[in-house]
């Protein structure tokens, strides 16, 4: 690589690392100086806005306003520049962009992506992760080397989903029957079960209109990566259960399974729900693993990937906006649930 570039860019990095906080601090100090010039009663009204101002501007510019503009774009044809309010409505197409995404049920438009997201990913990814996370948290809690095994399970959380996809590409590698299998999964299938090797990422078992196998292969890879996340949070909740409670149950003659079902599980339910909703959001936003491993081929498309595809490969910004809105609609129930939880917690404060 070109090291002269490095010498040129490192100063930039330093300028940003030091400059950004300094400029911000100067802005706050300057703002405070002006606030002190104000009459006493006006100070508390002005000060907070100076502090939150830069953040609110960035959040509005990158999240709030674009989201609204995307909603407008989804009702317009492609050649509209949504940033120019003068053009709004000139190419109004109503729900045509959506109609195209919802055409030809069950295999046309966005249906495959919708099915994969809101059925396969949402159910299997969430349930698998919760079950694995719970099992690992409960088992690990009982051994002394807990921290060590926990970090090993948690490690995939630190790597990128691109690397994760590559790791699982190698797990799922396929060689024709008779050849020595180089992929771990196929080696297991052929030697343990004497079954023909399976082309995990392409095999659309049990049928093309309901291809569970390759979608589960993708979901399995993603689950492997995120289980550490669920485990860590569930494990923290488990540690919060008072030991006396478990002791009392055991003294009363409850077996370990009963203690788990009747004491541990109910007490952990609120945490399981929080982790579950977070996982549902992750499941609906799934992108990287699909992008790296199958590019949405063999009916493994998901909404986030379809949106990217519509935008870049099809240059269809109206369609891409419609897919983004569909994704939002799928997330909204979770979002409302999150807000309710948040308010309930606030009320208890």
């Amino acid at each position: 690589m070109d090291f002269s570039l490095l010498l040129q860019d490192i100063p930039t990095l330093l300028v940003v690392i030091l400059g950004v906080p300094v400029v911000l601090a100067a802005y706050i100090v300057g703002g405070e100086y002006l606030v002190r010039r104000l009459p006493d009663k006006n100070r508390p009204q002005v000060r907070p806005w100076i502090w939150v101002g830069p953040a609110l501007i960035l959040v509005a510019a990158y999240l709030l306003i674009p989201a609204i503009l995307t909603a407008i774009q989804s009702l317009e044809s492609n050649n509209v520049d949504v940033l120019d309010p003068g053009t709004w409505g000139t190419n109004f197409v109503g729900f045509k962009n959506f109609a195209r995404q919802f055409a030809d049920f069950p295999t046309g438009g966005a249906w495959v992506a919708i099915r994969n997201n809101v059925i396969f990913w949402l159910i299997f990814y969430t349930i698998f992760t919760l079950i694995f996370g719970l099992i690992l948290a409960v088992l690990f809690d009982r051994v002394k080397y807990e921290q060590f095994v926990k970090s090993l399970i948690f490690m995939p959380m630190a790597i990128s989903s691109v690397a994760l996809g590559l790791i699982w590409d190698f797990m799922y590698e396929y060689q024709p029957p008779g050849e020595p299998q180089t992929g771990t999964m196929n080696a297991l299938v052929t030697t343990l079960f004497h079954h023909d090797p399976v082309s995990w990422l392409q095999d659309q078992w049990p049928g093309e209109s309901f291809n569970l196998l390759n979608n589960l292969a993708l979901i399995g890879a993603a689950t492997w990566g995120i289980t550490g996340f669920a485990m860590v949070i569930l494990s923290a909740a488990l540690k919060g259960i008072p030991g006396e409670l478990l002791e009392a149950a055991r003294v009363d003659g409850a077996g370990e399974i009963t203690v788990f079902r009747r004491v541990i599980l109910p007490l952990m339910m609120p945490t399981i729900v929080v982790v579950g909703t977070t996982l549902v959001i992750f499941a609906l936003k799934a992108f990287d693993v699909v992008y790296v491993m199958t590019s949405g081929n063999y009916n493994t498309d998901v909404l986030a990937y379809r949106m990217y595809n519509q935008l870049y490969l099809a240059s269809n910004s109206g369609g891409a906006s419609a897919v983004a809105i569909i994704l939002l609609v799928a997330v909204v129930p979770v979002l409302i649930f999150n807000l309710r939880q948040f308010r309930a917690v606030e009320a208890r404060r």
Partner: protein
């Protein structure tokens, strides 16, 4: 008492007495399950790691587990090849990832710290509503924002990679991405820090105010120093999030080798080298170095960040 302590066998029995042996034997299934599950969890990573040290001839014809029978064939040639090959641009991408991740961490964390303070300790109209909106934004899919932001960048500001590189100002081609990551990272940043600030004891603020300390003094002298653990968690979290991000980088800087980060580069290599290439194994491990170092050395803070705000998506 913790659950772990409660679950330990009450081994008051002397060592190697029949009861001691029975106590320990009864725990074997547990140890086997724990170690077995952990080992199974590691298989994918170990498989790739072993493969990355195998020559192409071995990788193509036999599974990675056969390599242990013949350890002399291990080689680092995959690494030297993939790093030296000019076409892979891995070294450049590694550097780009730093150039993207560091500012994209500094921006949302520092802006978020200032913004979180009023949410925690100042009263102003609309405070609760705004905070609720931020919590809501945590779950909103970023896909919803790409098209307008991108068209603003490209059509109105003419901020394309080519144009920005042509100015010759170092770092400028990443500005669009830095700002986008700042905007996307802020809701989480404010949420986590405001919750932490709020949990600080209010006596601290009151006694400081009685001593005549102004808002600035309280913030810089009391709040910030006490919040170092929360700031550390947030920095690590945001850094790893940006370092591992594929989608946002793909949208705003794309695959141009001079600006693309490791994730985009690696995803591109799966296409150009072909899935299952021996060089890809080495490239994948190379991309994991920084996250793994950060994770292993600062795991405590990372986990704390996860526990503090398990809603980021």
């Amino acid at each position: 008492m913790t659950v772990a302590a409660a679950a330990q066998p009450t081994s008051s029995a002397t060592m190697f007495s029949p009861r001691w042996i029975a106590d320990h034997l009864s725990r074997w299934p547990l140890h086997i399950a724990v170690i077995g599950l952990t080992a199974a969890w590691m298989v994918p990573t170990i498989g790739l790691l072993v493969s990355s040290f195998r020559p192409f001839s071995g990788q193509a014809t036999s599974g990675w587990w056969t390599a242990f029978a013949n350890p002399t064939t291990f080689t680092i040639s995959n690494y030297t090849q993939v790093l030296s090959a000019g076409t892979t641009n891995l070294g450049q991408a590694f550097f780009n990832s730093f150039m993207i991740s560091v500012p994209a961490t500094v921006l949302p964390v520092s802006i978020g710290a200032f913004a979180a303070y009023p949410f925690a300790w100042m009263k102003f109209p609309g405070r609760n509503g705004l905070f609720l909106a931020l919590v809501g934004l945590l779950a909103v899919p970023l896909q919803l924002t790409f098209i307008p932001v991108l068209s603003f960048y490209v059509q109105h500001l003419h901020w394309t990679t080519n144009n920005l590189e042509a100015t010759g100002i170092p770092g400028l081609p990443w500005v669009p991405l830095w700002l986008a990551h700042a905007g996307y990272g802020l809701p989480f940043s404010i949420y986590l820090l405001a919750n932490f600030f709020r949990a600080l004891p209010s006596d601290l603020f009151e006694s400081a105010e009685i001593d005549g300390a102004g808002t600035l003094t309280v913030f810089f002298r009391i709040v910030l120093p006490l919040s170092v653990p929360a700031l550390a968690s947030l920095v690590i979290f945001q850094f790893l999030w940006v370092w591992n991000d594929l989608l946002v980088a793909l949208i705003y800087v794309g695959g141009t080798p001079s600006v693309a980060p490791l994730t985009v580069n690696l995803a591109g290599l799966t296409t150009s080298l072909g899935q299952g290439s021996n060089l890809l194994t080495a490239a994948a491990f190379f991309s994991m170095i920084v996250p793994l170092i950060v994770f292993l050395s600062l795991q405590r803070y990372f986990v704390r960040g996860i526990l503090a705000g398990s809603v980021k998506g």
